[in-house]
């Protein structure tokens, strides 16, 4: 079965051998050919020597979810031969290194097997172990170029950009590409039935990962203090922020307009963010599940003391240390009601890198406006994989919403300043920053306090404050990003999802429609939930909630916050740690749809 610009292939190698550059070279080339492409890096929590995979999907329709089936596998890791070859769809292709005789594990009937002596060719063509291993990767990229009709000019252009100042490397890469390309051309019927053709569908897009985008958002939002403790998959967010600051925030004399503190642990990182925000800076941390657990106490302090703070949770597979290099959406409950006592927190759910950027800036506005912790809940798939998304743009008229912060003059004009008085009836009490004015001084505490910030053990004075907090969070529901709602003529089924599931769900919607199952779709983008979310649930006879965790945590939040009964919503769960596929959603919906046209 032939297909142009609509297929997927998977490359199986060993981590630490440098296949990453070959893979991104392939991604970028296809992207520059104007063809929608996406890649999923499936790597181990290890530095060197374990199996790693890279899945590249080409989709003229622009579907970016994880591929539903694999048309070709490039098997370069003997340790996973069996698994990898089993992955190929019937009639699909296997590309292996024929420097060695075909391994029994690879000899699978019903597929096409192509051998290229990558190893042997590189041993002949290059000197030294490391160069040989590295170039072996570039060589398979070359072979794929021939097999899939990747434009060599584009590849060459990319190599020239990348190694502009490294002639030697440029030459060897060039040579390696040709090794694979020429061998394939000479030995196989190129291109394969599934291959590429130039399009013009990526002009307005970029290839970007969510952590880089979020870091940019923090940069543009004017964040000045970043505190963190390294943890996969959140590390690259703060590292990207640092790089951007180095580039855009350093004075002529080398002095920096930012301060990034690598804390001793996540508790300290949270404390630093809270201290900096309290003092008036825009400050944030980036972490993953274990960090969220460790930050619980501080989160409660910020909530109860009305201190802004921005947390990025790049979710990975839990519980506990779990699978650090696998994705999941299982921190929802521990974030929504984080910390002991009565609490509730604002959370934003980006669906892709583009939203990571915009929601990052929005997070700071919300945190300062509502004087409370705000969580940007991303995940490993969004954060670390390259996604094709629209070019990010910026409105130069944007001004940060610092919320109710009294100036020295405003404080001076007051008869008396009391920190926690709900002046405007919106539950948000004007705050003052340290150092601004003696009359603005107040005492911030996590212990019982009254509306003046004074210590109290009095029931009424205590309730006065916590009731205001409840009111404040209730009002936040309509201030967080509104849900995205996609409807179809007289659809009775509703699908609700969030975050990274979006890519798979919109693809599934199309396929379901083609199969005669019309579904409306609501994507939750913020917490607490806007009223429209409850309405959507109530207005559909059957609702599926698609999410990546075992316990249907999004459905739990919907049950608690909208009042819609739990069992009115059918969970569609995927929690094995890999990005969601449309196939998974389609199957779940079809199989459980009351009288579906199957």
């Amino acid at each position: 079965m032939s297909s142009v610009n609509d297929f997927a292939f998977k490359i199986a190698t060993v981590n630490g051998t440098g296949s990453a550059s070959a893979n991104s070279l392939l991604m970028q080339s296809i992207f520059r050919m104007g063809i929608p492409v996406s890649g999923k890096n499936i790597f181990p929590s290890n530095i060197q020597g374990l199996p790693t995979w890279y899945e590249i999907r080409v989709s003229e329709h622009g579907y970016t979810a994880r591929p539903n089936e694999i048309d070709m596998v490039v098997a370069l890791n003997p340790a996973t031969y069996a698994r990898d070859v089993a992955n190929i769809r019937p009639g699909g292709y296997l590309l292996y290194d024929s420097s060695w005789p075909l391994d029994a594990a690879l000899a699978r009937p019903g597929i096409n097997i192509l051998g290229v002596p990558f190893g042997a060719m590189c041993v002949e063509a290059f000197q030294g172990d490391r160069p040989r291993t590295l170039m072996r990767n570039i060589a398979y990229a070359g072979a794929l170029a021939a097999l899939l009709d990747i434009d060599l000019m584009v590849i060459e252009a990319l190599l020239h950009e990348k190694f502009a100042r490294k002639k030697a490397l440029l030459d060897s890469n060039h040579k390696a590409i040709r090794l694979g390309y020429d061998y394939a051309k000479a030995n196989f019927a190129c291109p394969l039935p599934f291959h590429l053709k130039h399009m013009d569908a990526t002009r307005d897009y970029v290839l970007l990962d969510g952590n880089t985008a979020a870091a940019l958002g923090c940069l543009y939002a004017g964040a000045t203090v970043g505190a963190w403790y390294p943890i996969t998959p959140a590390t690259s967010l703060m590292e990207a922020f640092k790089d951007f600051c180095q580039r855009y925030r350093v004075d002529a004399d080398g002095r920096k307009r930012f301060c990034i503190v690598q804390a001793e642990d996540e508790l300290a990182a949270a404390g630093i963010v809270i201290g900096a925000s309290w003092a008036g800076a825009r400050s944030f941390t980036s972490t993953a599940g274990p960090g969220i657990s460790l930050m619980q106490e501080f989160i409660g302090l910020a909530y109860y003391a009305d201190v802004p703070a921005v947390f990025f949770d790049i979710q990975r597979t839990g519980p506990s240390t779990g699978m650090p290099t696998r994705t999941q959406q299982a921190d929802l409950l521990s974030i929504a009601y984080a910390s002991h006592g009565d609490t509730k927190h604002i959370a934003l759910f980006p669906a892709n890198p583009e939203e990571c950027f915009y929601m990052a800036t929005e997070a700071f506005d919300l945190a300062e406006r509502f004087q409370t912790p705000v969580f940007v809940v991303s995940d490993l798939d969004i954060g670390m994989n390259d996604w094709m998304c629209r070019r990010l743009t910026w409105d130069d008229n944007y001004r940060p919403d610092r919320g109710k912060v009294l100036s020295a003059e405003e404080v001076a004009a007051l008869p008396k300043f009391s920190r926690y008085v709900d002046v405007e009836g919106d539950g948000i009490a004007p705050r003052t920053l340290p150092g601004v004015h003696p009359k603005g001084a107040y005492f911030t505490r996590g212990s019982g306090h009254d509306r003046h910030g004074a210590y109290t053990e009095d029931a009424a004075a205590y309730r006065d404050v916590v009731d205001r907090l409840a009111k404040k969070l209730a009002l936040a529901a309509e201030a967080v990003p509104a849900p995205e709602i996609v409807t179809q003529p007289n659809a009775e089924i509703g699908i609700v999802s969030l975050g990274g599931c979006h890519a798979a769900v919109i693809e599934a919607l199309d396929r379901l429609r083609d199969q005669g199952v019309a579904c409306d779709y609501l994507r939750v983008r913020g917490f607490p939930f806007a009223a429209s979310i409850g309405e959507f649930l109530k207005s559909h006879s059957q609702v599926f909630v698609v999410e990546q965790n075992r316990d249907a945590q999004l459905r739990s939040l919907l049950t608690l916050e909208t009042g819609v009964a739990r069992d009115r919503m059918t969970p569609v769960l995927d929690y094995g740690g890999l990005p969601l596929t449309a196939e998974h959603v389609v199957r779940a919906v079809i199989s459980q749809t009351v009288g579906a046209a199957v």
């Binding site: 004017g222 307009r257 990034i260 990010l392 940060p400 150092g435 005492f443």
Partner: protein
């Protein structure tokens, strides 16, 4: 209520500092500690120090954790912002505040439980970062607020009220700080205001992390015979390496460089710390010497007090991270946001 502003009416009787403020302007709300608690004396000494240094109250920020000691930030400087955070985590909150606004005078007030048990990691790392702040550790050898369990600073053999002796080696904040590279290390006694006040003043002006371990007896749970943190025991066993005079920049040169004065250290802002008649064997700028000196006296059952070590060369957190001169909170948005043009260019790199 800390937010009450002081009555405008001045008390003619009261002494004024160069800002025209009286000590009252540096006071806080009424203490709720036990009568006789050492912590209240430390509060008084801090008020004295701020008053004498002519620091505008609202330019100070009071940071603390949880404990009787940590409560005391409410009992001074009612015109300063205060942050009574969570137990043992004040150092990180102070670090963040300092990162955001380097121009305030940060004082952290903590206890031995807050700093040496739950907060040990944060204290050590704040020292490493040399966060510019005065860190006062009100050390009474017990957890006061939770009614008198041993803290990690309890000496071996020191007993609880019930008579139970401590058998674990103590963590000595002074030795720890010297070991971790602290740039200002002192120990004092809440009962010795004449020693404490100048040390606090020097600590306030020190550019970096100034650790002041103050033996501050807990009259309710650790002031009995058998306790090595009682008033009596401390009075009998502490040896002052040398009284210090703190001579602020303002005062005329002569006073600062008075001839004949033994050791003296000039601080960042030009102020001078003068050690009177310090013993031959003692050099307050010799880290390892100080360490050995304290250990040697400990072996004799003595508690060395005084400004034990001071180093003016150490770079503080901002110097290390090369941040701009202006506090980050004062930077206008347009100096922080690269703008749309830059973003458009940047996007090209992601294709």
């Amino acid at each position: 209520m800390t937010s009450i502003t002081k009555p405008a009416v001045r008390h003619p009787g009261l002494e004024r500092n160069s800002l025209g403020l009286t000590k009252r302007d540096y006071e806080g709300s009424m203490s709720t500690l036990c009568a006789g608690c050492g912590h209240d004396s430390v509060t008084a000494a801090l008020i004295q120090a701020f008053f004498e240094l002519d620091i505008p109250p609202h330019r100070a920020a009071k940071m603390s954790g949880i404990g009787c000691s940590s409560k005391t930030t409410a009992y001074l400087l009612s015109q300063s912002h205060g942050f009574n955070s969570v137990h043992g985590r004040m150092p990180s909150v102070a670090t963040g505040a300092n990162a955001a606004n380097k121009d305030l005078h940060y004082i952290g007030i903590s206890g031995d439980g807050d700093s040496l048990s739950i907060g040990l990691g944060q204290l050590c790392h704040a020292i490493r970062r040399n966060v510019n702040m005065l860190y006062v550790l009100e050390n009474n050898g017990v957890y006061g607020l939770t009614k008198g369990q041993f803290s990690a600073s309890a000496d071996i053999g020191s007993t609880l009220k019930g008579g139970e002796p401590n058998a674990q080696p103590p963590i000595d904040p002074v030795l720890l700080a010297l070991n971790l590279g602290a740039t200002f290390v002192a120990r004092s006694f809440s009962g010795d205001k004449s020693q404490l006040v100048p040390i606090l003043k020097a600590g306030l002006l020190h550019k970096g992390f100034a650790l002041v371990d103050v033996i501050s007896p807990c009259v309710s749970f650790n002031d009995h015979d058998g306790s090595t943190k009682s008033y009596r025991y401390t009075r009998e066993h502490h040896v002052d390496i040398a009284p210090v005079d703190f001579v602020p920049l303002q005062s005329e040169i002569s006073a600062r460089t008075q001839p004949g004065s033994t050791t003296s250290v000039t601080m960042h802002d030009g102020s001078v710390v003068r050690f009177r008649s310090v013993g031959e064997d003692y050099d307050p700028t010799d880290r390892d010497g100080a360490y050995g000196f304290v250990r040697a006296h400990q072996a004799k059952g003595e508690v060395v007090t005084g400004l034990l070590y001071i180093e003016q060369s150490g770079a503080d957190m901002h110097a290390v991270s090369k941040t701009v001169e202006r506090p980050l909170v004062d930077l206008p948005f347009d100096e922080l946001c690269p703008g749309s043009a830059a973003l458009d260019d940047l996007m090209q790199e992601f294709r």
